[in-house]
């Protein structure tokens, strides 16, 4: 089990409009541990100031939608989901 302090390298997946905004479908974002989804989003905004992500995007961790204050653990995969339009 990796330590929960230090730095967390979080794989981030981007889809549809967000992939276009950030110019990538997959990123790895480093955040100080312990980290939350909100902290990761802040890092993302700092790294991509021009991307204009919404204030509260939908976020999934390990294939489930989570609240922005959700904690991140080593091995978690984060996904930023633009407003859904399936069906």
């Amino acid at each position: 089990m990796p330590p929960t302090t230090g730095t967390l390298a979080v794989p981030v997946r981007l889809f549809a409009r967000y992939a276009e905004l950030l110019g990538a479908e997959r990123l790895t974002i480093e955040v100080p541990a312990p980290a939350t989804v909100a902290a990761l989003l802040e890092r993302l905004r700092t790294a991509y100031p021009a991307a204009a992500l919404p204030a509260r995007p939908l976020v999934a961790v390990n294939l489930r939608q989570v609240a922005l204050d959700a904690a991140l653990a080593p091995g978690d995969e984060v996904a930023l989901l633009p407003p859904l339009s399936g069906g």
Partner: protein, 160 residues
């Protein structure tokens, strides 16, 4: 179970999947790509391209089906969502539900489509046949954009 499919949807196959002797009511829902006057204002929609976070979409569809079965005992559910380019008039989603009685079949079918729209990470991109000097530009040069019709305008604030 793979519920995301790249080809035309076959509702009869889904109906055959859910049919059972204990079920006296069957309901189907097809969601089709619209190309009406509302879309014409955007340059004429020729189709919609659907993309997904496939692993999560499959997981979410599994969860929706499980919830439906728990909520309507004896019900049976099958559904497919199409990915890739879906031309106007063709189905992007097909749902078949069988239940012991009709009320449950209607309710369960409605529940499935509403939950799919709310929770499953799938996105559509409208393909337009843009008109220039009164002629239709060939399909290879159509323009396209992510659908924003179901989207609230993003807040300008970057903080939270």
């Amino acid at each position: 179970m793979t519920r995301l499919v790249p080809a035309a949807l076959a509702i009869d196959r889904l109906l055959a999947e859910v049919a059972a002797p204990h079920c006296g009511g069957m309901c189907t829902f097809l969601g089709t790509v619209r190309g009406g006057p509302e879309e014409a204002a955007h340059g004429g929609v020729t189709g919609i391209e659907y993309s997904a976070y496939e692993a999560m979409a499959e997981a979410e569809l599994d969860r929706i089906v499980s919830e439906t079965l728990a909520r309507w005992p004896g019900a049976r559910v099958a559904l497919h969502h199409r990915l890739g380019l879906v031309p106007v008039g063709e189905a992007s989603i097909a749902i078949a539900v069988a239940a012991p009685h009709r009320a449950a079949a209607f309710d369960a079918c409605r529940y499935v489509i509403e939950q799919v729209k709310r929770r499953v990470p799938i996105w559509k991109r409208e393909m337009h046949a843009a008109t220039a000097s009164g002629r239709i530009i060939p399909a290879a040069r159509t323009r396209c954009g992510w659908s924003t019709r179901s989207v609230k305008p993003p807040t300008s604030s970057m903080s939270h």
